[in-house]
Subunit: 256 residues, 2 copies
């Protein structure tokens, strides 16, 4: 049974993709077999690892429409222990199409069934919404990792996210739990950052990672070279942050 | 006929809400009658102006379901010339519900018909997606303002956004044009910022505002006080950026 983790937060631009890509790469560097599923039509996780975005038949879209297909769609990345189930722009249409499908929340869950035996860890990058794509991610996962930008609007969104997780737990995925909350783009010099970090630690007692990702321009440069931070600038503060996260992630699988 | 502008970009966290709120407030401060429509279930534009998010019957959700209702849902803000059509979390359900409705792209357009005579300018804050809520915003608007964060992933998303605008122009709203592209969170000290800004100016010849919004922590602090930057810190670089934008916005209504 693979450990399946959804990286989700409906607030935009909080570091979901940066976290999914760099956590997956750091864990793969420690020689654990990892699959990264890009469930966002923006296909940022796909390009962040240097892959071209996929067309209709070759992206996660095809796996949602025909779950038994998923294995054939997986691609390798530059890192030997990291594979990717890529996304592409056709996924934009999927949200509307999925409304009419049977088991519309369980399409990804069914698609990953056939893959679980090949991977130790499966990480799902979700889009900035609470629509059917994200709900598929939350139903396929056993736990959710919440990147949390240290800003006011992001803080406001946490209560809505918690409500959605309740809804998923009450319905299609009763065992879903919060793996951890990761503070991202933290800037210790700025009051707002510190204040938000304190609020989050109070709201999510005990489930906030010790690892904190600082605001670091190297993290935003790396995707333009199609590389995770580990292969772009291993000595950067951003990379140190994600290596610390990977260590914590591997130590405590998270229980609820 | 009011000037109706959608602030849209499917990339998350690029400054859509910050732009919608602060442009609306700056234009209202110049005594033009403005309505800000919050079309995002996150309801950040609503709270960014100090208003409580609305429940089902009192939010833009009710205007989408019953367009003739819209006038009764409008609320005033702290600024005399600025009103708000607020959002609330119930809007999350609207995207799925709208799929089954007649004229599912034109619900907001119909709702704003009755309001146009009361306002000179209507600004619509869109969510980070290309689903039915954003499509409603793009069909109700006559032009679109694109906030563009000076980062790599945001640059990648521009071509998808252009395709979606083409789709809207080919279908329900043939006259939609790009009012302008606004560079946000610009940091002149960083190569990536300058490079992205240059790429954007090449891609969108002549339609990039001269006004550039610098990264400025005061902009991210203002929403925690429920105030636009004008009322929070008028001397800040962020405020100067949005006042310059408002001036440009009012000078050239944008033509194609
Ligand atoms: N710690 C950091 N320091 C500096 N820049 C960062 C950091 N983390 C992410 N970024 C940059 O901030 C932007 C937003 O991050 P990212 O795209 O990962 O967020 P997201 O939550 O996946 O966005 P979306 O909601 O669009 O999916 C990107 O341009 C990214 O490169
Ligand atoms: N120029 C700026 N300088 C510093 N911080 C900014 C700036 N513009 C916006 N912010 C902050 O960055 C975050 C993202 O901005 P904002 O929420 O306006 O983006 P958005 O595109 O509306 O996001 P979403 O995709 O979730 O709707 C917010 O916390 C905001 O306060
Ligand atoms: Mg992302
Ligand atoms: Mg917003």
């Amino acid at each position: 049974m693979a450990r399946i983790v959804a990286v989700a937060n409906q607030k935009g631009g909080v570091g979901k993709t940066t976290t999914a890509v760099n956590l997956a790469a750091s864990v793969a560097a420690a020689e654990h077999k990892v699959l990264l599923v890009d469930l966002d039509p923006q296909a940022n996780a796909t390009s962040g690892l240097g892959l071209e975005s996929a067309d209709l038949e070759h992206s996660v879209y095809a796996a949602l429409m025909e779950p038994s297909n998923a294995g054939a769609l997986v691609r390798s990345s530059e890192l030997p222990f990291l594979d990717v189930l890529p996304s592409g722009p056709d996924l934009y249409g999927a949200e509307i199409e999925l409304v009419e499908y049977e088991e519309r929340y369980a399409r990804l869950q069914n698609a990953l069934h056939g893959l679980e035996s090949e991977y130790e860890i499966i990480i799902i990058d979700c889009p900035p919404s609470l629509g059917l794509l994200t709900l598929n991610g939350l139903c396929a996962a056993r736990s959710v990792l919440i990147p949390m930008q240290c800003e006011y609007y992001a803080l406001e969104g946490l209560s809505q996210l918690s409500k959605s997780l309740e809804m998923v737990r009450a319905g299609p995925n009763p065992d879903l739990y919060v793996e951890g909350v990761l503070l991202t783009m933290f800037d210790g010099r700025n009051n707002l950052s510190r204040q938000v970090a304190e609020d989050v630690r109070t709201n999510f007692q005990g489930r906030v990672y010790d690892a904190v990702i600082p605001r670091n321009v190297r993290l935003s440069e790396a995707p333009s070279f199609g590389k995770p931070i580990l292969l772009y600038d291993i000595s950067s503060k951003g990379c140190q942050g994600y290596l610390a996260l990977a260590k914590e992630f591997l130590e405590v699988p998270g229980t609820q």
